[in-house]
């Protein structure tokens, strides 16, 4: 593993004189308060040159505090290198005038920042000068100008009237034989809402512009001012199929703030549940991808595997989506010997059923023909857009938050070094293969955890009131990739701000790129190969 201290020394040398250096938010992390907002793009370029990539952007409204400002934090993490990456985060922090918050956009240099900056413009009113595409992202039709829901003075109960939808602003492709195909937000299948505007010539997709954030529920506003215990239920419900990952990320971030040590057995049980979430998602997603390829035997096989695992979830945790298992300070329910045996039985069945399904796929040319060379995501685009998870690994990006930001049992138990699966074919087939390989690795991790489950308590008491004005930062490898949780406590020890950058949020901008090598009828297949959530993107 590259030495985190060497990485930070490099960053200090590159950014010398540009700002004040301080430690945090975690032990061993680095935060740089930039003296001048004009220096931001150059500083971001320096971090990228040091092998780092953008993890998240968190804005806060501190107008009513002694700072009397609006802050923006660009959080970077190491992204280049072979094997485990150094476990550090580097934050570039800027203080802005709350009356006229303005700073230069880094999107021209760091494309991954594009949505983050548009979102901060909508929700905080921060102007990113030089953003190449500064139209609204989160707020839709008829939202009043100058009204920014995440500013503290905004009253969350205020409901501006909904105006009839006007045509949404998008790039219009012109030329002979070019047609626009509008799809959504309400789709033909049982899927979440989003709008896709295809510009096509014949069957070929020339350009795709998605419009998301239809399911924006204002959850980050909802969570402000809640106690940790109450806020947890909201965090857990940012998403259905990432419930465990997001609940766990929220807990780990708040436990950092409280400086709480979670008991060893609880850490292993959390990790076990995280792997169970990965397995049930991956097998179900393989089935859904096969639906996109019209291989219905495979779809049924995948759905049935997923169903068996969700029934296992319910036996273990009382909930088919693993809700209510994790809690701030540990876990709510213990593992009995009998339940451990049911996990072993279910894992053996999954392993056998998946091997059989994968063999059937690989030996069926009518299926592989659909999967091969469809939905290409080139490696350089995956890196530039900060793509994460399976979508990134199937394009050759060797990153996995379980290995690169080890936490819970990955950090403390032996035998849980995650072997990261990558593929270089960058197509739908590669995404299927990486999923299958990851399931086998998860089954191995689960076996190791069941064999060496430490004894002891499963929960420590979480203080009802957090220490004031502390920041927690966690990266959790959800089934769809790394989710970054950024949390800050307020004066009263409640949640001042919680920002979730889900894996889907990072990956959505890659879908139009992958769609450009596809024909319109293959779009569902391409889309399902990413299998992104709308809800934890939109929040």
């Amino acid at each position: 593993m590259a030495d985190p201290i060497a990485v930070l020394d490099d960053v200090r040398a590159r950014l010398a004189g540009q700002g004040g250096f301080e430690r945090g938010p975690r032990q061993g992390d680095l935060t740089i308060r930039l003296h001048r907002t004009e220096g931001l793009p150059a500083a971001a370029v320096q971090l990228c040159a040091a092998g780092m990539a953008l993890a998240t952007v968190a804005a806060t409204d501190d107008e009513t505090t002694d700072d009397r400002d609006v802050k923006v934090r660009y959080v970077f993490e190491p992204a280049k290198g072979a094997g485990a990456l150094p476990d550090v985060f580097v934050t570039l922090m800027l203080s802005l005038d709350p009356k006229r918050p303005e700073l230069p956009s880094i999107t021209p240099q760091v494309p991954a920042a594009s949505w983050h900056e548009r979102e901060a413009n909508d929700l905080f009113g921060i102007v990113f000068v030089g953003h190449p595409d500064p139209k609204p992202l989160v707020v839709h039709d008829g939202w009043p100008k100058g009204l920014h829901p995440l500013r503290k003075r905004f009253d969350a109960s205020f409901r501006p009237p909904v105006e009839p939808a006007e045509e949404f602003p998008h790039l219009v492709v012109d030329g002979e034989g070019v047609f626009e195909v509008p799809v959504g937000p309400i789709h033909a299948g049982i899927i979440e809402p989003g709008h896709f505007r295809f510009s096509t010539v014949g069957e070929s997709v020339l350009y795709l512009e998605p419009r998301l954030f239809y399911t924006h529920r204002g959850l980050e506003k909802r969570i402000e001012g809640l106690s940790v215990d109450d806020a947890f239920y909201v965090a857990e419900r940012m998403c259905g199929v990432c419930s465990l990952s997001h609940g766990l990320g929220f807990c780990e971030a708040s436990e950092q703030v409280a400086e709480l040590e979670v008991p060893r057995r609880a850490r292993v049980l959390r990790t076990l549940a995280l792997e169970l979430e990965r397995v049930y998602n991956h097998v179900g997603d393989i089935g859904n991808i096969l639906a996109g390829a019209s291989y219905h035997y495979g779809t049924s096989a995948g759905l049935r595997m997923k169903e068996a695992l969700q029934q296992l979830n319910e036996h273990l945790t009382g909930h088919r989506f693993l809700r209510g298992f994790v809690a701030p300070g540990g876990v709510n329910l213990d593992l009995t010997a009998e339940l451990a045996r049911s996990i072993e039985t279910a894992m053996a069945a999954t392993s056998e059923a998946l091997a059989s399904l994968m063999e059937r796929i690989e030996n069926n040319p009518t299926v592989t023909d659909r999967l091969d060379a469809t939905g290409l995501l080139p490696l350089q685009d995956a890196i530039a857009l900060g793509v994460t998870g399976i979508a990134a690994r199937a394009s050759g990006v060797d990153r996995d938050a379980r290995r690169d930001h080890p936490h819970a049992a990955y950090a403390s138990e032996s035998g849980l070094d995650v072997s990261v699966a990558t593929d270089f074919n960058s197509d739908v087939h590669a995404r299927v293969r990486v999923r299958a390989t990851e399931v086998y690795e998860s089954l191995r991790l689960i076996r190791v955890m069941l064999e060496s489950m430490p004894a002891g308590p499963i929960r420590t008491a979480m203080p009802g009131v957090l220490p004031a004005w502390r920041i927690g930062l966690a990266s959790i490898e959800s089934p769809r990739g790394a989710a970054i949780h950024w949390l800050r406590s307020d004066e009263a020890g409640r949640i001042d701000r919680y920002h979730l950058r889900s894996a889907s949020y990072a990956n959505w901008p890659a879908v139009p790129i992958a769609a450009q090598s596809a024909i319109v009828p293959d779009f569902p297949l391409v889309n399902k190969s990413f299998e992104l959530c709308y809800s934890c993107t939109d929040r």
């Binding site: 909904v162 979440e192 809402p193 049935r304």
Partner: protein, 269 residues
């Protein structure tokens, strides 16, 4: 092909027989809360323990209520109740035609006991006209009005070989114009309000609206805010409410059958 067929034959039938046979609920399953008879009124959990604001009253007031439409089934109120005065029940057939009957109303009795008021009578049969036109079969359009996707995935599960809802004459269709009604998941976000209205209007009459899950039934954990209208009933006339976060697949089946009068509130027809 042959191996696939053999494998299928070896596997046999995996489909459950709900509703003819009762749903199998595992031991750790957490359902909705229930007030245990002859509990002390003061032993009931304070309203502040509920993360979704389903509990009102108590704390000096003589009235207390739990709104099952808002309930996340997290079990916190049971943990915070003295002497087991609130218990978590395992019944999943909670769907109802009347929003009011999902609210458990409790009064403080003269002897200090919690006195649970009888639920209001179930609303009028939605379904008379619908039943005459649509019969016992329903073709439904899924309408995501801003859900967290858990309810959506449970609707997908209805099509898997275990629940196989088509065996009951129920199916999901691609267009609202082919539908007898909508299954709505989510609290109706601001950004979806127009699409929700338009989808509903595209369904030919008579049409059924089924609110699936806590968010659709009441706003749930999302509540009412700048981004959420706080439940489908704020936008559309709802025929059946299915509580749960999310409701289990059998609970959704129960709610769908209730919409066409194939089960009655509380018992199979």
């Amino acid at each position: 092909m042959l191996t696939a067929l053999l494998r299928s034959l070896r596997t046999g039938v995996v489909t459950i027989r709900y509703p003819e046979e009762p749903a199998q609920v595992p031991e750790r399953f957490r359902g909705a809360p229930r007030i245990r008879t002859s509990s002390a009124f003061d032993a009931l959990a304070p309203a502040s323990v509920c993360p979704s604001g389903a509990i009102a009253g108590g704390g000096g007031q003589p009235r207390y209520s739990i709104d099952l439409a808002r309930c996340l089934c997290c079990g916190r109120c049971a943990e915070a109740s003295a002497g087991g005065s609130i218990e978590i029940c395992r019944d999943i057939e909670l769907a109802t035609r009347s929003r009011k009957s999902l609210i458990i109303e409790v009064e403080r009795g003269l002897d200090g006991h919690a006195f649970v008021l009888p639920p209001p009578p179930p609303g009028p049969e939605v379904a008379d006209r619908i039943r005459r036109t649509l019969g016992r079969s329903l073709h439904l359009r899924h309408l995501d009005s801003g859900s967290c996707n858990a309810c959506d995935w449970e609707l997908t599960a209805l099509l898997n070989p275990v629940y196989d809802v088509r065996r009951l004459g129920v199916d999901f269709v691609a267009s609202p114009r082919h539908a007898d009604g909508v299954l709505v998941t989510g609290p109706v976000t601001r950004n979806l309000e127009v699409a929700v209205r338009r989808t509903y209007e595209a369904v030919p009459e008579p049409r059924v609206v089924i609110a699936v899950g806590a968010c659709a039934s009441s706003g749930g954990i999302v509540g009412r805010s700048y981004a959420s209208s706080g439940g489908v009933a704020e936008i559309l006339p709802v025929d059946v409410f299915i509580p749960g976060c999310p409701p289990r697949p059998e609970a959704i089946i129960y709610g769908i059958l209730l919409a066409v009068g194939r089960v009655r509130d509380g018992s199979p027809a």
